[in-house]
């Protein structure tokens, strides 16, 4: 494998070398944040966005897990891209994701047992997270290692910010407070509100509200971002 990568670089010697953070590479990082967001524009990975956004902690840990899997998965697939026969590529991709996910899962169980328990099957389900397979297919299979790594990071961050934004809304209105590791619960809605008759919104804890929150984010994004306005 390594020899092949080396050969490729020799062939490409004639082309002027691209700077490490060229405009094109930068866009790999920034596009998924807004214009090409995996959740709000590509509509991938919705399932986990609905399931684990009840608490901000869970959303952050999930995002970090996805970041890890995406980064290394994209890099590994990109390195292997010329040796993978295209007819069995999905299986190869699955093997790569699965091993990375098992790694993440064991790490979480060892160091963050509480959160690991709350995330339960959803860490395992990163395997089926459409963003990951989608990026492998769409990007890593056809691009070099470094851009693939950037693409992985960009998409994972694009996924992460939506997840955290949804989780913040849901936890504040669903529980009135956000729990941080080490700090305990930080109240966002003052006690006086509760005394005046305010109540936590139970619907926020149920998955439908996550869907609606994501929908509202998409709505705001589309009305602000000219590129996403569809003509019909």
């Amino acid at each position: 494998m390594s020899t092949e990568v080396a050969e490729k670089e020799v062939v490409k010697e004639a082309v002027p070398k691209e700077p490490l953070f060229s405009a094109k590479n930068k866009r790999l990082l920034t596009d998924p944040l807004n214009d090409d967001n995996p959740i709000t524009v590509q509509v991938l990975g919705i399932c986990s966005a609905l399931a684990i956004t009840v608490q901000v902690q869970q959303a952050v840990v999930m995002s970090l897990s996805v970041l890890f899997v995406m980064l290394f998965g994209n890099m590994i697939i990109s390195m292997l891209r010329n040796t993978i026969p295209s007819r069995i590529r999905i299986i190869v991709q699955l093997v790569v994701v699965a091993s990375l996910v098992i790694l993440v899962n064991e790490l979480l169980k060892a160091f963050l047992p509480d959160i690991s328990e709350k995330l339960s099957v959803f860490v395992g389900l990163i395997i089926t997270n459409c963003i990951i397979m989608g990026r492998f297919e769409a990007y890593a299979m056809g691009n070099k290692v470094f851009p693939s790594a950037l693409d992985g990071i960009g998409n994972a961050i694009g996924y992460a910010w939506i997840l955290v934004a949804v989780a913040v809304v849901r936890e504040i209105f669903g529980s009135g407070a956000i729990s941080f590791p080490g700090l305990g619960q930080v109240k966002f809605i003052p006690q006086s509100f509760f005394e005046a008759g305010y109540m936590n919104n139970n619907l926020m804890i149920l998955p439908p509200m996550a869907l609606i929150t994501v929908g509202v984010i998409i709505w705001i994004q589309r009305s602000k971002n000219k590129k996403l306005i569809e003509e019909n």
């Binding site: 008759g197 305010y198 109540m199 919104n201 139970n202 619907l203 926020m204 149920l206 439908p208 609606i212 929908g215 709505w219």
Partner: protein, 399 residues
């Protein structure tokens, strides 16, 4: 009226294009067309002209809801004073009811129309009158003690997420008022269900035996052996049927009196606004499910007394009648084809009784049934139209 017309004509120029308040034209337009038949004419294509436009239609529905509203106001007071064991005059009961119900109506209209006005001004649409009916339906399907801020939140949610995101009046997929109720039901269950929310017992101690249970929650435990609000057993099933038919039972404000709702139904049917197919097939659907339960209940599930509540009694309990008459017939969210309407109404009735009896966690099955069928209505229409196409194709082939 003439003075109002003159006033509106006088201030018109400042709202038109180039005028001072150009941005607020939708507000002006809404007021003008609300008071007077608009002079808008169609600019292209052939249209059927009808004097009864959307605002007039909506107004007729509100008129049809008035009996249920009036009885709800009276019943709120009646339940309150009966639960406390106090003697009160008719006037006191109505006064208490008004004090509880009017704020709900004001909040519902204020918030709903506010959201709608803001939306229309931003988007430059004409303000549609769709909310006139929803604004009245929302208070009628609430328990009378619901905190006002919850009504405000639910109304705003329903208008925004239930209607405006789909494109406003006429484009919504699910019934707006039921969206508000479903929102509250899941968001604040302690204020929307249980035994404490249906009757106000402030300012005194409730009489012995008072539980505050609606017939729906009584039926889960004791079947058709219903008690009235003071815990006294009804003399016979006919007595409890009569009480629920007339509406002297605890429940959401507008839903208790089947009689008042039927008066509304007559108004809706006489003016041709509601579809008789939906109402009739809804009632039949509920009756069929009730009958099925009556037959299989004693034989297979003798422990579940709910199954043995007579089918005709099922129809007057809870919000079944209110839902079938006022919510299921919403022309926007119902099925559009005539045959589709029959299927749609029948399934609403069937599902409402099914959910109510089989799942005690959702005593108000009609809400779920209507929301579910709202979502299914386009599918029903699709298959009805497809069936018609297939039938005609076959005829074409044989000919």
């Amino acid at each position: 009226m003439k003075a109002l017309e003159n006033l509106l004509d006088k201030i018109k120029p400042s709202f038109e294009k180039g005028g001072k308040f150009e941005k607020f034209y939708p507000v002006y337009d809404a007021l003008e067309t609300f008071a007077f038949v608009p002079d808008h004419t169609t600019s292209k294509g052939a249209h059927i002209r009808d004097a009864i436009d959307l605002k007039r239609t909506m107004f007729m529905v509100i008129v049809a809801m008035v009996p249920a509203l009036l009885f709800g106001i009276y019943n709120t007071g009646y339940q309150h004073f009966t639960a406390l064991g106090m003697d009160a005059s008719f006037g006191e009961m109505v006064g208490f009811g008004l004090w509880k119900v009017l704020p709900l109506i004001i909040v519902s209209y204020g918030v709903g129309l506010g959201v709608e006005f803001i939306f229309c001004i931003i988007k430059g649409h004409a303000i549609n009158e769709g909310f006139l009916v929803s604004g009245m339906l929302i208070p009628l399907i609430m328990p009378m003690d619901i905190p006002l801020w919850m009504v405000a939140v639910a109304t705003a949610f329903a208008v925004l997420i239930g209607k405006e995101v789909f494109g406003g009046t006429g484009m919504n997929i699910v019934n707006v008022a039921l969206t508000a109720r479903a929102f509250l039901f899941f968001a604040y269950p302690t204020k929307m269900s249980g035994n404490k929310v249906w009757v106000n017992t402030d300012g005194g101690t409730a009489v012995d035996g008072y539980t505050g249970e609606t017939l729906l929650s009584q039926a889960i435990e004791q079947g058709a052996a219903f008690t009235d609000i003071t815990g006294k057993l009804y003399g016979s099933i006919d007595d409890s049927f009569m009480a629920s038919f007339l509406g002297f039972i605890p429940g959401s404000i507008g839903e208790t009196s089947t009689l008042a709702i039927l008066i509304g139904a007559v108004i809706l049917l006489a003016t041709g606004i509601a579809s008789w197919r939906i109402i009739l097939s809804g009632l039949i659907g509920g009756a069929v499910m009730g009958l099925i339960f009556n037959f299989i209940g004693p034989a297979y599930f003798p422990d579940n007394l709910y199954l043995q509540v007579p089918w005709w009694h099922q129809l007057v309990m809870g919000g079944f009648m209110f839902g079938v008459v006022f919510m299921a017939t919403d022309p926007v969210t119902a099925a559009q084809t005539e045959r589709g309407k029959i299927i749609y109404g029948f399934l609403i009735g069937l599902l409402a009784i099914l959910i109510r009896v089989v799942n005690p966690a959702y005593p108000e099955g009609i809400m779920m049934a209507i929301l579910f069928m709202n979502v299914m209505a386009p599918t029903i229409d699709h298959y009805v139209v497809q069936a018609n196409i297939n039938k005609r194709l076959k005829r074409l082939k044989t000919a």
